[in-house]
Symmetry: C2
Subunit: 638 residues, 2 copies
Amino acid sequence: MNKPINVRFNPAGISIGALEGDNLLDIARNAGVGIAASCGGDGVCGTCKVLIERGAVDGPKGFVLCEEDLAQGIRLACQTWVLTDLVVTVLPGAQAPASIGHLRALVTREEIMAATDWRFAPPVFKLYIELPVPNLQDNSSDLTRLERALESNGIANPLMGISFLKKLPVAVRENNWKITLTVLKERRGLRLTDVESGDTRNSNFGLAFDIGTTGVRGELLDLVEGKVLAQGVEYNGQRVYGDDVISRVNYSGKTGGLDQLQRAVVATLNQLISGMIGHAGVKRRSITHVMIGANTTMTQLLLGLESKYLRLEPYVPVASILPVLSAGNIGLDLDCDVPVSTIPAVASYVGGDIVSGLVGTGIFQRPETVLYIDIGTNGEIVVGNREWMVSASCSAGPAFEGGGIRHGMLATAGAIESFNIDANGAPVVTTIGGDRPRGICGAGLISAVARLFLNGVINQKGKFNIENAKYVRAGEDGAEYLLISALSSAIGKDIVLTEIDIENLMRAKGAMYAGYQTLLDSVDLTFDGLDRVIVAGTFGTHLDIEDAITIGLLPDINRSKFVFIGNGSLLGARLSSFSTELIEAGRSVASLVTNIELSENSSFMENYTASMFLPHTDVRLFPSINRQSGEPVDGDAQ
Amino acid sequence: MNKPINVRFNPAGISIGALEGDNLLDIARNAGVGIAASCGGDGVCGTCKVLIERGAVDGPKGFVLCEEDLAQGIRLACQTWVLTDLVVTVLPGAQAPASIGHLRALVTREEIMAATDWRFAPPVFKLYIELPVPNLQDNSSDLTRLERALESNGIANPLMGISFLKKLPVAVRENNWKITLTVLKERRGLRLTDVESGDTRNSNFGLAFDIGTTGVRGELLDLVEGKVLAQGVEYNGQRVYGDDVISRVNYSGKTGGLDQLQRAVVATLNQLISGMIGHAGVKRRSITHVMIGANTTMTQLLLGLESKYLRLEPYVPVASILPVLSAGNIGLDLDCDVPVSTIPAVASYVGGDIVSGLVGTGIFQRPETVLYIDIGTNGEIVVGNREWMVSASCSAGPAFEGGGIRHGMLATAGAIESFNIDANGAPVVTTIGGDRPRGICGAGLISAVARLFLNGVINQKGKFNIENAKYVRAGEDGAEYLLISALSSAIGKDIVLTEIDIENLMRAKGAMYAGYQTLLDSVDLTFDGLDRVIVAGTFGTHLDIEDAITIGLLPDINRSKFVFIGNGSLLGARLSSFSTELIEAGRSVASLVTNIELSENSSFMENYTASMFLPHTDVRLFPSINRQSGEPVDGDAQ
């Protein structure tokens, strides 16, 4: 029996009992101490940094911390096991804002991953074989020799391409006929996608991507250990051709447009790949699989498929369930035979990104009725359970990812991710990683608008009460709020929030809310009839559910029903990379979901118009939002 | 009952009875009148030209004859049906030399094709489908729509690639959701290789190739009608990198060598493709399949596969049975998804060309024991029947295809294909197409050496008896025989046969003969124990079996056992393009054949040395060759 010990977390000042050998991140979670761990505790993202003030710990050095950190006593909580009584300080970048939504997210994401029932068995595996060395009595071909050996492993008639055949004669002879095959499980059987000399079974890595209209997020996965090794995020290189899917589709119709869009997003993926493999020290050749979660338009543009029919009635995509393609088909900077799988789509505007989220959260396995909301440039909504699912989508625009916002940025280091007003009426911001502010991300924007609204700085129409607000001033685009001055920012100029920014956010949240309303109406359900609301979105690890309700982005219902899971598309792409069962599940889910076209639904536009207030024109829908409406809150400030 | 009629053939002066409506080529064959028809009577090669002197005929105009020919009364015998009593003259180019070997070849090739038991069912077929037009109630994806329609046709889970997906959305909308699919039968199931709008079922064409070390021959096939539409021959563009497979393999080991060799042969294929589709007026897009018969080295170099191990003990090829690849994999100038099939190989030096011949001649279906000989730069030999087969190969060098011969050329128009000495001792040559001589092809070379040997102009060692021969003179390379003077040739200079040419031919025939001997020895058979000897080779339509025996290239046995089938590799590639059963048969045959490495067999070298005489050092092996040895034959000439 392990010895009982005591752990004290600063600066929160919370103490809790634990046992020798317990994991420090788990202890923090049990204590209700918010420590950000965006990779879910895999030791790769480096966000959960703590300083060991007193006491002894154990754990691997890992590759995230530098020698200097280690010498100072800095550790990753997720990679630290406690040996004695301990006093630790959670470092600023690791301090998760103590909102209900966020805390729940960190815990519940784990719960949900555990609740989704899947077996670890990636779609690509490695097989080590020692072939009989040929001689004049048995000089059958390299491939015949291989196929015979495979048959004795129960593998008959494997598929292969020219690139495999080119490698085979060299690989078999490099290490005395000892080889490792990379094998892809296809629906029709097995495909040999690579051959290496010697035993490389321990080196099997996958890539999972969420290709969003605005941002592209990637993960480098260890397909042997089932771990996330590195993460990356970049703006989608297609952004220069238009902000939303409609403008991209329009651009794809121009001469050469489809090619340009394909090249742009492939370049973004290649940039992410280089970054992640460089960070984790993984060889490019060791990447054996790519899994893509993306909306239908992003998927079609990635593959260079004609996309104009996506936005012409009756909105028909090229394919819902695509065959497994290869890196060479689309120009990814990987071995050309590396299989590229795409999560199936439901319809033109309900894509693989949402199916990925449905798979990743296990909704398709459980009886409760769930509203699944994916907040992004292309907002997607599903209601249902393991028996039935109905989906819809709405174009929210890029505001949630910082697009169309004066100082908007993706949720990366330096982005303002939460906002408040202190006792003196002055703005207080926290940034991702604790860096000097470089801009504001979607979560920060929601937080800022919510708090400014609650404090009466913004009115119901999203306009500033200029006479009341000390930090409001006239700017280029009309009135603006000074979030942080040039002196404190990392960009050498003031970071502001403009009325146009607010208007863009209101349009985005209005489209989302109108979407839920219309979809639920269509299946005769109300918000109260839901067992759970799962909120996904590319907000990094942060979305304050309370703030989101305040601005009317989420419905004003029992908070315990909410779960924020972060990037649902990436979650599903990651899990599908780990489990062939979940790839199959994606196909079932895509077939199970019935899509409703909101653009064809007259009540959607009415609901949308009614949503263009803070939180809503119908205040009865948001009974818990108590606002100091119109009252000055910073009138007496310094 | 059709009316009996009489047909007289000039210049032979042979008359024969027939019935109204009979085919003129069939009548000629029944009459024993040799008419060359290299395409086998498909109306495409244009060799069987006759002049209708008197009487009435019927038949299509076809695309081979020009208006001028038709006006003069010239017709293709194979496309002519007789209506009345007739007098015809067989035109010079169509007159097949009246040797037993050649006559048998023309007849027996047909017999053999009929004797091979196969059903017409090409590996690629077209399928016309009308899809339900989508609407808002049913806006499932293009591919889902297609897959549902296919399922009602009994086709589940078809395979497809990115190129098919790129065409699909455009094709379905071009002609109101009426499309024609191109479908490849793969071992695992069906693959969709193309989609066109509308009904294109009548337009389905294949290409069959024999890729020889020296020459490449192609056929354009109508996969609906089962016909040959065009033929073509070109030197293999790899020739500049070496004459035989060994020098090619050596070159492939140099930096960039493998790429250069691949590009060279692909360029040759592309040249042939352009020529054949241009000739037949077939659209490039309508080509749906490519079938390759080639020796193992040629196949590997075509695909860009590492080939150095082919000539290193223990002589292991990359693969015997290759998967179906695609035009895009190797750079053929066709739609990139067009499947490229290769006839399976047995071993490094017994390739798909010989398996193709075994399939095309139906040996694998019959009980008789057959010696199958493929005479070419890489000579290949098989003995066996439907129960067992043993193979061997020997490097004969390019002499049989005119390589390494002063005035050697491929068997194309203007090539001297037969030789004799007239009553005055003067040389008489006939050329392919009746054109002015441009050079000498393999068949002509065999004919010339045989006749000069029989007439005492050449001695047993292959040297000229200079004192006896009027047409022998001193040349750059020693003694040479004047085949045709500059005045009569098409190249403006004398066409000669040199002692080096003769030496090259003797080495080539010696290697072949030693090959048969060694192979038969190894299975305890003699020439007399054979039921049949099938001779294949790229000699155009011409190989005089008697001449070939005279020089010791073929064994001196009962002439009725010989069958000359022309290009066996191309024959099998053509038939395999017509019949999926024969593709399967190729796999069985390749597995059935046991290969013996002659280079490892000590008696092969002894046999080879003993074969370096005309016809052989052991004259008892050639009892029927009566030579006017050493006697002057043209001493009394003009």
